[in-house]
Assembly symmetry: C2
Homo-oligomer: 327 residues x 2
Amino acid sequence: MPQAELLKLLEGIADEAIGMDSSVVPLKYPGLFLISTTDYFYPSVDDPYVQGKIGAANVLSDLYAMGVVDCDNVLMILAESTDMSKEERHTVTSLMIKGFHDLVQEAGSRVTGGQTVMNPWPIIGGTAMSTCKQEDFIMPEHAVEGDVLVLTKPLGTQVAVNVHQWISIEAKWSRVSDFMTKDDAERAYQVAMDSMARLNRNGARLMHKYGAHAATDVTGFGILGHSRNLARNQKAAINFEIHSLPIIKHMKEVNEKVNFKLMEGFSAETSGGLLVCLPANKVEAFCKEIEEIDKHPAWIVGRVVKSEADRTQNTSKIVDNPTIISV
Amino acid sequence: MPQAELLKLLEGIADEAIGMDSSVVPLKYPGLFLISTTDYFYPSVDDPYVQGKIGAANVLSDLYAMGVVDCDNVLMILAESTDMSKEERHTVTSLMIKGFHDLVQEAGSRVTGGQTVMNPWPIIGGTAMSTCKQEDFIMPEHAVEGDVLVLTKPLGTQVAVNVHQWISIEAKWSRVSDFMTKDDAERAYQVAMDSMARLNRNGARLMHKYGAHAATDVTGFGILGHSRNLARNQKAAINFEIHSLPIIKHMKEVNEKVNFKLMEGFSAETSGGLLVCLPANKVEAFCKEIEEIDKHPAWIVGRVVKSEADRTQNTSKIVDNPTIISV
């Protein structure tokens, strides 16, 4: 749902939570907090097992963005498509459940329940929760001037998923065939799937190690939508400046033919990377260590600058002619 | 989704949870448990505010069935219908959110987050969670021979919702017009709505006060489906015998014309009552007190009998010619 419409609907109900990826509730047991998040969406990749993993990576990511490393349990949210035959449905759903289950296990947690319904469109997602002490999570509100922004996964997953669907549709493929091959599209799709199905858990661990000041994950509202939410949530009067965009190879060119708002920063990502706000002197070590552990790079994408306005005016922008990093 | 299909899909993943309405996870903090549940469905009543309340009552009920009285927080699960105009959608969704929010507040809890998507069919529901000590919840597994089963809301909500839709469809209405008036249908619908939108929280409180041995809530699988799940979850070799069915007035007769499997015990209920297994000497006081507090009666509907078979064969049945209580 469009962000503006959603905010209007939730006016006066959940507005304190804007900029936070998870709910944080202090418990009646002194020193303990219950952190929880729910997220679900419609499958976009054609491998149901990978789709299940993406569904799990995506909901867990909301905990990781708060620096929560250990998830107590996950409830699975699932809808089977009414458009499939019973056999298709059984096969597809079994694989989605297996993928979801396997990735939750990889995250050191477990699926302990959930709800499954029938729906015209299939749905996959869940609720993840963790009871924590104060030191186990990082409130996304301590960014200061001079901090550096790091992104841990590339942008362009939605574009890659779409261009992959065009391979077999000549009218659509012809729009992009002058600058890329079908193998390029397959490769971009594979990079996107690997990225979406990968846990952001190491990012959460390193946020503690390197003293991150704030973080969010980049999903449906794009890097600019989420970084604006994060900027607004800061206690200091600051702005974010995004100066670099790591983008899956060829997706910038695809976006020039069919506008996904990728360059404006509003292209939706699924199970995107963590956008982490780090002290400048810790950034290099963070990036080096996460690449060692995850076997995938993270990129410096921006910085935190002082704002002369009131902190309620905090925002984020992409600079003119940002550096494009082809991934 | 049909129960058998669902169980097959979940084989080897969540089978330990059958018969439990919520997930129970022991935490790393000694003596603490995280109890959580997720539930969502498609709206069935034409008042979106009441529908929101029903969505909240329904998800909270899974906690109450475990004797959990206090919910820490709720995440809301919502889908707006793609079939509505933007204006309709905004009005309907705002009212659903308000109803959901108001009932969660009435339950002494709060909505701290959630997820909203667009979908062909609207969806309402949520995840409810509570961190508890051992004495705050009742594992549904201690039924013994001689126990008595009490039901705290009447059956027939799905039938009442359907017959209400027939009022304006002459071909359908004519099937039932010889034994009921349109006012009767309106009254049955009102009874069903009030019932579905009512919290089971007092039932959870009284389960502790009167030493309940086990409980579940009656929802999509009907009274027999849920009581069978509950019977299977017991540690003793027992069976349940349902001897009485409290049914919303006229719905038994409607069910004779159009079979909802109400008399077989499989008619789906939405946000149904608690089915509580109580020591025989506590039943009367439980029923008396819940009627005083809730201003609605509860009914003795069955008993727990010894089984000669292995406990894995535990089951529940409705006796021949059960007593029908017209509500």
